[in-house]
Amino acid sequence: MNGASYAVTGVGTFWGRELAGRLKERAEGNRVLALDLHRPHGLEPGVDFQYLDLIDTRAAQTLGETLRARGVESLVHLAFRQSPGPNLALDHALEVEGSRAVLDACAAADVARVVIPSTTMLYGPKAGNPNFLTQSWPLAGHPHAHCVQNRAEVERLAAVWAEAHPASAVSLIRSCWALGARFRNYVTRTFERPVVSTCLGHDPLLQFIHEEDLLGIYEEAAATAHPGIFNAVGRGVVPLSRLLALAGKKRLPLPEAALEFLGEHGGGRAGARGNGDEASGFYDYLRYLWVADGELGWAEFGEPRYSTQEAWVDFVSSDEQAFES
């Protein structure tokens, strides 16, 4: 038994399923434990699946026993909402309390490497942001994006846990918006439309990371210890107008009031029927700068294969029937 023992939570998501397959194929003898509510269709056959409900109060205990029994040395916690839902309490319970349970289980099982994905949305889209935000920039988040606020809490939990368990290597991977041929979430749904509504008078610089590059980073962080916080982004920044022109999409610049109205009553992305947040919780990210500096991440995990523009082009030129995550 010379392979490594991995555990991946949230295999129902695109990231979890793909990563579990990659880790299994990475080396002969690797044992991968996939954890979620259901075994997803398309999961690599050699991966072992176990039921895990992170909202259950006994989740930490059962997970800890399982991890210890299997001798798991590396856990990647990917059980996070890819698109915010209307039930804020449920999202909080899953993302924050669920992460707490996973971290408790890792402590009980002495897991050597813990990888927790985070997002550069935590820096917050603010008017005074410099053009490149480093890892030490304070995390402002956004008051109207509840999933972003949840992730900020998870980062705090992870930081406290990492200090309390110096023997474990905790990698916090803050990624920007991920694009690619297959991954879909609320962000990609906005960009899939032929007419994309933007903020009137604003044209921010955006950055993306390709799904393959991000999966590569998760895999690398799971396989070898990379303790610390890293921005995982693609090279280059492109203005939103240029991206839409490249894709042949039309822009619909709308004033703030119109965006709020559409969010509330459009039944679409924002509003009580959509994702439980006000429209500004998303549209501010298309208004102000929140570009992260990726030098540390590139030095640690290698050059990304796709630049921001290439990731965008790959996404735009991809098939319509990509699966939902």
Binding site: N131, G201, P239, D314, S317
Partner: protein
């Protein structure tokens, strides 16, 4: 495009190549091998054609030996990437990491030259103090609401340095984040004024122009013209010391008369979401035309550079930083005064 394997029914239109191999596979097993061979041949043909069109790529890969199994996914990925990128370069101009569009800046050069030479009749002095090589920080007085001074000054520095690229002018947060101004200023080379941006630009070898008066200088009314306000952006001293670049003071005379703000109207401005409306002799009476700047005479003077070592920069965060900013302010003030004296009249 000819199909070397001779199968005629799997690739009927020689020029239409389905990019998804599995869609091209027919139901029955017998012709499946034929179809795959035909597809493989067609894809190889296409790949060779793309490589032939891009001369840089032709030398990259050795031809794949026929006996090896085709790496479908690798080929698919490579084709998709190259096809997606093909033709894009012609449509996209270069946009640098701070959002400046070099194409646009080049296209606007005739306009900038007209404004500098004919409209505002700029005369420079002290150009011998502009360093010929290496990044530097230029510090000037701020006048007028819209940053025409920054825009023209950056171009003047470029012409004084002959052939190097223009410095980036730093714009206060309050202006560069306003709707419509944000994309316009960014595309033309404006950058948010903050120490992180300055450090990064200097490290990349680019000069920056900083207006330490900030918005205080921009919203001066006409009766306070050329009265230098307090200097903010005090981080510039520490940044200059860390980067080891000289700080060149400059005085810009003429921008105040180009955008003379008689008074600020706070009443109806809140309807537009602005803090105030500038009242000039032409705006808002002439409508949007009133925002065009007036053709005053400009005089720009450069002063002797202040080297970071010359004022004992052992502790940039301490009292030395204040002393440095104080000296800088005095130099800028005297340059402005000299410029005003040398100018016979603002409109000649």
């Amino acid at each position: 495009m000819s199909n070397s394997d001779g199968a005629e029914d799997s690739a009927p239109n020689g020029n239409v190549i389905p990019l998804r191999p599995r869609q091209a596979t027919p139901e029955s097993g017998g012709s499946e091998a034929e179809a795959l061979e035909a597809l493989r041949g067609a894809l190889d043909d296409l790949r060779r054609k793309i490589r032939a069109r891009s001369p840089g790529l032709a030398a990259e890969e050795a031809p794949r030996p026929q006996s090896d199994p085709v790496d479908w996914f690798g080929l698919f990925d490579e084709l998709r990437t190259r096809l997606a990128r093909a033709g894009l370069r012609e449509r996209t101009g270069e946009i640098d990491e701070f959002g400046m569009e070099t194409d646009l800046v080049e296209r606007m050069r005739p306009l900038r030259e007209f404004m500098a030479k004919r409209y505002w009749r700029v005369a420079m002095r002290g150009t011998e103090f502009v360093p010929r090589a290496g990044p530097a920080i230029y510090v000037a007085n701020r006048s007028g609401l819209l940053p025409y001074d920054g825009w023209i000054f950056a171009d003047l520095v470029r012409s004084a340095r002959e052939g190097t690229e223009a410095p980036r002018f730093m714009v206060d947060e309050a202006l560069i984040t306003l709707p419509f101004l944000q994309p316009a200023l960014t595309r033309m080379g404006g950058v948010l004024a903050c120490p992180e941006n300055a450090r990064r630009l200097l490290a990349a070898g680019q000069s920056v122009v900083i207006f330490p008066e900030g918005m205080r200088g921009a919203i001066k009314t006409f009766d306070q013209r050329y009265r230098l306000q307090g200097f903010g952006h005090r981080w510039l001293a520490a940044v200059a010391a860390e980067a080891g670049v000289p700080v060149i003071p400059a005085g810009i005379v003429g921008a105040e008369e180009a955008q003379p703000m008689l008074f600020r109207s706070y009443g109806p401005a809140w309807l537009l979401g602005l803090p105030f409306l500038p009242m000039t002799p032409t705006f808002p009476w002439l409508g949007p035309l009133g925002l065009l700047p007036l053709p005053s005479t400009w005089r720009v003077g450069f002063g002797r550079p202040l080297e970071p070592g010359s004022l004992d920069f052992e502790d940039p965060a301490g009292l030395d930083s204040d002393a440095f900013i104080g000296v800088l302010r005095d130099r800028v003030e005297s340059l402005v005064e000299t410029g005003r004296r040398q100018r016979i009249s603002p409109w000649s």
